[in-house]
């Protein structure tokens, strides 16, 4: 088994990987930028190493600095998490060259799967259905116009080296093409260090259904069934679930077989995800391979009972998959909500700042994978994901009710989050009936402004008044520390004075 693992990531996924290491009895070393000295993953790890300034290119995306930290830690393996360098073949290669085990696929597989264009070519050759689009990177806008005309608008610009919605733009008309290409390139360069982009036909309102795959180095490849990830904003998933309400046993078996065929076509090892788009007629198209642990892996863990992150480590250490395809089954239903620091009422603008109060939900079937704590300042430099709330139930309805209740209990104050929005998504009749597609948020929530019912507003005002009289003597929490707390009049009229501290 491995002796020490360097976790080359931050936030909730670093915390998740560190927990897996500790369960396996393997010491975990964290890395942190200047912005993350006080981050939760640093406190949770056994060891922590400083890697530089807040800008990702100078810290979490610096291969040189990560390798140096792993050497300093005396680690024998590196787990990349998701995002950052996780799908970077040059990084995986640098790890191997420096003598580290890379917890993920081989550099060859990463090069193929991570290059969305190369993957499209390979899958087409292997007989897997793909979405119409370019098979090489886009040049300047005027050269791309002809290609877009051939595909027919709308088209979508995608980063060849990307994923997770970064560097992705839908283009509805020719005049938008140039600016969208430029914006996608800038985002792609910042997020992945590669600004190659390409065009695909944009399918309106498909379902996004993906299959979790796992493969060991001994020739065994299995799938852990599907995740339905159709509820998205800005082409990024926000609610995921397993099983998908759209699959029956036959379609599930065919897509699962296709997912394993995709894995074999790129000699896949370790954990990965094969993404498909599913149209209303039940036709599915290969979208891409996410060659890393996926944000939404917990729904699969809850439904299959497999700990994906621990299994990743076992496989990376040279072990065999501890199960075969026929050992796996889906039990009950799981839903995940991504808790982003964003304001849904203003088009999901990021909301950085200090978390002034945090209360996480509890209850049967509730799991919370978080990377935050009360008093922590959410940095502006990184992805706005704060935590993931996952519920399990014997049925989809039970998982949904548990999610609704858990979201009601979940309190994050100080920054805007998507929690109130998510609760309305879960309650929405279209979600309740399983009728979701990638247009769900635009179709049902385009004009959502987070209106607060008057009855709730009155309770809030009553609570604020109670706080004035009962909380007036306490020191006010101030994000900046600027300005003295406003004096409560309660403190100035002797007979009613309570809890005075100074």
């Amino acid at each position: 088994m491995l002796k020490k693992i360097l976790v080359a990531n931050r936030g909730e996924i670093a915390c998740r990987v560190i927990r897996a290491c500790r369960e396996l009895g393997i010491p975990a070393a964290a890395v942190y930028s200047e912005a993350d000295r006080a981050a939760l993953h640093v406190a949770l790890a056994d060891e922590a190493y400083f890697i530089g300034p807040p800008a990702p290119l100078e810290s979490y995306l610096s291969i040189e600095k990560i390798i140096a930290a792993a050497k300093q830690a005396g680690a024998d393996a590196i787990h990349p998490g998701y995002g950052f360098l996780s799908e970077n073949a040059a990084f995986a290669e640098a790890c191997l060259d420096a003598g580290f085990v890379f917890v993920g696929p081989t550099p060859q597989t990463l090069r193929l799967a991570g290059d969305k264009l190369g993957a499209r070519r390979t899958m087409a050759a292997a007989g897997i259905p793909i979405i119409p689009g370019m098979s090489a990177g886009a040049a300047e806008a005027r050269d791309v116009l002809a290609e877009a005309d051939r595909l027919g608008y709308p088209v979508i610009v995608k980063a060849a080296g990307g994923g997770g919605g970064k560097g992705m733009r839908v283009v509805a008309a020719p005049r938008e093409l140039e600016e969208s290409l430029a914006a996608a390139r800038r985002e792609a360069r910042g997020a992945f260090g590669d600004d190659t982009v390409y065009l695909e036909k944009y399918l309106a309102r498909p379902r996004h259904v993906e299959f979790q795959i796992m493969a060991d180095g001994h020739g065994q490849t299995v799938h852990l069934f599907e995740r339905e990830c159709s509820v998205q904003r800005r082409h990024q998933k926000i609610v995921e679930e397993s099983p998908s309400p759209a699959l029956d046993a036959d379609l599930r078996a065919r897509m699962g077989a296709a997912a394993c065929a995709v894995a074999r076509a790129c000699s896949y090892t370790n954990a990965g995800t094969v993404e498909f788009l599913l149209d209303e007629e039940g036709r599915f198209y290969f979208l891409e391979v996410n060659a890393r642990v996926q944000v939404e892996h917990p729904v699969t863990e809850l439904v299959t009972g497999v700990d994906i992150v621990k299994t990743q480590i076992v496989i990376a250490a040279g072990g065999r998959l501890p199960f075969r395809q026929e050992d796996l089954s889906q039990r009950g239903h799981a839903i995940e909500c991504r808790i982003y620091a964003e304001d849904p009422a203003t088009g999901f603008l990021p909301s950085a700042g200090r978390i002034l109060y945090l209360k996480e939900p509890r209850g049967p079937g509730v799991r919370l994978d978080g990377g935050i704590y009360s008093g922590w300042e959410v940095p502006v430099h990184y992805d706005p994901i704060l935590a993931k709330l996952i519920t399990w139930g014997a049925t989809r309805e039970e998982a949904g009710r548990r999610m609704e209740e858990a979201l009601r209990e979940y309190v994050i104050l100080g920054i805007r989050t998507v929690i109130p929005f998510l609760r309305e998504v879960i309650r929405h009749p279209a979600f309740a009936s399983g009728d979701t597609n990638t247009g769900f948020v635009g179709d049902h929530f385009a004009s959502w402004r987070g209106e607060v019912p008057e009855a709730v507003m009155e309770k809030a005002l009553a609570a604020a008044a109670v706080d004035e009289v009962l909380g007036g003597g306490r020191a006010a929490v101030s994000a900046s520390g600027e300005g003295a707390p406003a004096p409560s009049p309660w403190r100035t009229i002797g007979p009613w004075e309570t809890g005075r501290t100074g």
């Binding site: 910042g190 507003m457 609570a463 109670v466």
Partner: protein
């Protein structure tokens, strides 16, 4: 603070939420509190759960609320909702990134972040909806556009500059 003691024991507060100002009074009534919101009265039993969380009982119904102060702002969580209350007179910004006064639109940073691109230099004309500059935060780009056809009168930032929320970044003279 716009609150005042109008008579001994009855406290009156005003809170602004969006465009409206709401008046709340509270007075001790035995073991309970009598609270009136815009004149509608309720009897409330209150217990502190921690420094910010309260368990309230209103006519037998329980309400758990969290109130956190941040300068002149109160963040209140109740029933899964978050309400932001401002003290009257506190400077607030609406969610819109633009404001127009006397034909001049001020483009402000909608969030803390970095200016990644200035697309229209000072002195050049813009079409309605045209993106003037691009701000990046948390790895997502956000374009700030002109509210109408006009001329970029001033650029108040530089590419690569870190900016704070609501910081003015450019001025567009609309209709010129």
């Amino acid at each position: 603070m716009g609150d005042r003691a109008n008579r001994l024991g009855v406290m009156e507060y005003e809170f602004r939420t969006g465009e409206t100002t709401r008046a709340v009074t509270i007075e001790k009534n035995g073991e309970r509190w009598r609270i009136a919101v815009d004149g509608r009265s309720m009897e409330v039993e209150a217990a502190c759960l921690d420094a910010h969380a309260y368990s309230l009982i209103v006519a037998g119904r329980t309400v758990t609320a969290v109130v956190v102060r941040d300068g002149g702002t109160r963040h209140v969580a109740v029933d899964g909702y978050v309400v932001v209350l401002e003290e009257p007179g506190a400077v607030g910004f609406t969610a819109a990134e633009e404001e127009i006064a006397e034909g001049v639109q001020i483009l402000r940073a909608p969030m803390p972040g970095k200016v990644v691109k200035i697309l229209v230099p000072e002195g050049e004309s813009v079409a309605k909806g045209q993106t003037v500059l691009v701000v990046e935060a948390m790895k997502m780009e956000h374009g700030l556009g002109a509210a109408g056809a006009g001329v970029v009168r001033k650029i108040l930032c530089a590419e690569g500059e870190s900016v704070t929320a609501h910081q003015p970044l450019a001025e567009v003279a609309i209709g010129s």
